[in-house]
């Protein structure tokens, strides 16, 4: 398959501090890729560079053959950050519609109401963020990222602040939403701290080393889809989790 993201020799320094060191990777259409690595290694920086929020010091990124800046302006990226980052003065629905308002898009393919339904928030359209739980707030953030049907979903530890039960539930929800919206979202880049989460969700896991981050290893995850919770009890899953744990331990 075609690669949707192609990263060549990306390096990033903050002043003199090297953060990323010669990163090469490619993401295929329809792929779910996780980025994992020791904390503070530059995962978030890599994600922000991929999405055009910060420039790389050197190297080249192409999104379907175009420079990142062009892709950003074409609104090909949907970001979900660690915190929901909702505007407290807007209702769930109004928060979901924020990108459409900014784009001046009055005729989205899928209505924001329907997206809220997809992420399981039907009936909460007129609630304000403070009236909703952390998990519900993060669902709004996901719905918001889907409103304009971005080609690439960039997620930076989106469930990192949630408790484990909610987190597992959100993982399943994410896979379900991704499947339902697969026509439009072609790739997901998912930064996480959690090895089990990465294995459960991904087609491919990119393991980064300590800062300055290099690519330590790229693992293909050939677990069958659609993934159910039962996958987590399979030998293959447990083996993969163990294998990644070993790799990260060596650092």
């Amino acid at each position: 398959m075609e690669s949707i993201i192609k990263v060549e020799n990306i390096s990033k320094n903050y002043d003199k501090l090297p953060v990323l060191d010669n990163i090469n990777l490619s993401v295929k259409e329809g792929e779910f890729v996780s980025i994992i690595g020791p904390s503070g290694c530059g995962k978030t920086t890599l994600l922000k560079i991929l999405g055009g929020l910060i420039p790389a010091t050197s190297g080249d990124i192409k999104i379907r053959g175009s420079p990142v800046k062009v892709a950003l302006e074409r609104r090909e990226f949907g970001f979900v950050f660690q915190n929901p980052i909702l505007l407290p003065w807007r209702t769930a629905l109004k928060n979901t519609e924020l990108p459409l308002e900014i784009f001046g898009n009055n005729n989205p393919q899928i209505s924001s109401k329907k997206l809220l339904k997809i992420v399981g928030l039907e009936g909460f359209e007129n609630y304000y963020p403070k009236e909703l739980s952390g998990g519900m707030q993060q669902r709004i953030a996901i719905a918001r990222a889907l409103t304009f049907e971005p080609a690439i979903l960039l997620m930076d530890e989106p469930f990192g602040a949630l408790d484990e039960i909610t987190r597992n539930k959100m993982n399943l929800e994410l896979l379900r939403v991704w499947k339902e919206e697969k026509a439009t979202i072609s790739a997901v880049i998912f930064v996480t701290h959690s090895i089990p989460e990465a294995v459960f969700l991904s087609d491919k896991i990119i393991i980064l080393s300590k800062r300055p981050a290099k690519i330590e290893k790229v693992l293909e995850i050939n677990l069958p889809r659609p993934r159910k919770v039962e996958v987590k009890y399979s030998k293959k899953y447990i083996g993969l989790v163990k294998c990644i744990r070993e790799i990260l331990k060596e650092d």
């Binding site: 055009g52 929020l53 609104r75 949907g78 970001f79 950050f81 900014i102």
Partner: protein, 258 residues
């Protein structure tokens, strides 16, 4: 729920009133026991009768003072807000003017009042000017703060939509600054009254400041107390009105206690 609310409301109003009555009684007793002359400290009964007898005239003076205070307040807050927006958008303008804004703030308003009366005459305009100057700084500083202190991540979110500066201003910075702006608006309510009354001290023929000054010349201390009390009540009401608007505007946040 409803019952609880009204009970709390009763406590909120009832307890201060009870204390107030208590203070008045102690006041009366002290004057009686220590034989304090009326021109130093009038009895509460005298003050109350002064207020009721001269109610219309007091209200007339208060009306003038409030007119000056509210006008100056509105002018200062509009100008202060606009200047803050300009400051927040241009580092150069901010660097150039900010020191003078601080200088204006640190100069005692009482020192400037005679000059303003000289320039604007002894009518309403000079009091409005004094009020405007004293109310200018809080709104300037707070609006700048509110426009600038926006969460980095939220800016990232807007950037990821390639939002332009105007969109970030209207959809993020402006609503974000509302709590800061209202905090300034509340502080300024009391400053506005100070400005108007100080202006009237310097040169006026009506208003609460004028009334306080003339009654002090004639040792009509009861009138002076009446004027002070009525201006205090007006100040509290002014503050309450702004607080009420604040709760309506910033519905998403618990308002800070002042």
């Amino acid at each position: 729920m409803h019952k609880g609310n009204s009970q709390r409301g009763l406590k909120e109003i009832g307890i201060p009133i009870l204390f107030f009555v208590g203070i008045l009684i102690v006041w009366e007793v002290i004057i009686f026991l220590l034989h304090i002359p009326e021109y130093l400290l009038p009895r509460p009964v005298q003050i109350i009768s002064e207020i009721t007898v001269n109610f219309n005239s007091l209200l007339g003076h208060l009306g003038i003072t409030m007119l000056e205070a509210v006008f100056g307040y509105i002018i200062a807050n509009i100008i202060g807000f606009v200047v803050a927006v300009i400051f927040a958008h241009s580092k150069m303008v901010e660097r150039g003017f900010y020191p003078y804004a601080i200088a204006l703030q640190t100069t005692p308003i009482v020192a400037m009042a005679p000059l303003l009366v000289l320039w604007f005459g002894s009518g309403l305009a000079s009091k409005i000017a004094v009020t405007a100057i004293i109310c200018f700084f809080p709104i300037l500083v707070n609006t700048i703060k509110g426009l600038k202190f926006v969460d980095e991540n939220t800016i990232d979110l807007f950037k990821s939509y390639s939002a332009n500066k105007w969109q970030i201003f209207v959809k993020l910075r402006l609503p974000n600054s509302m709590p800061y702006i209202f905090s300034a608006l509340k502080i300024s309510t009391s400053l506005a009254l100070v400005g108007a009354i100080v202006g009237e001290f310097v040169g006026a023929s009506k208003g609460i400041g004028y009334l306080i000054l003339t009654s002090s010349y004639h040792l009509e201390t009861a009138i002076m107390f009446a004027a002070i009390i009525i201006s205090a009540i007006a100040g509290v009401l002014f503050f309450k009105v702004i607080s009420f608007i604040e709760k309506k505007v910033i519905f998403w946040q618990k308002p800070e206690e002042f």
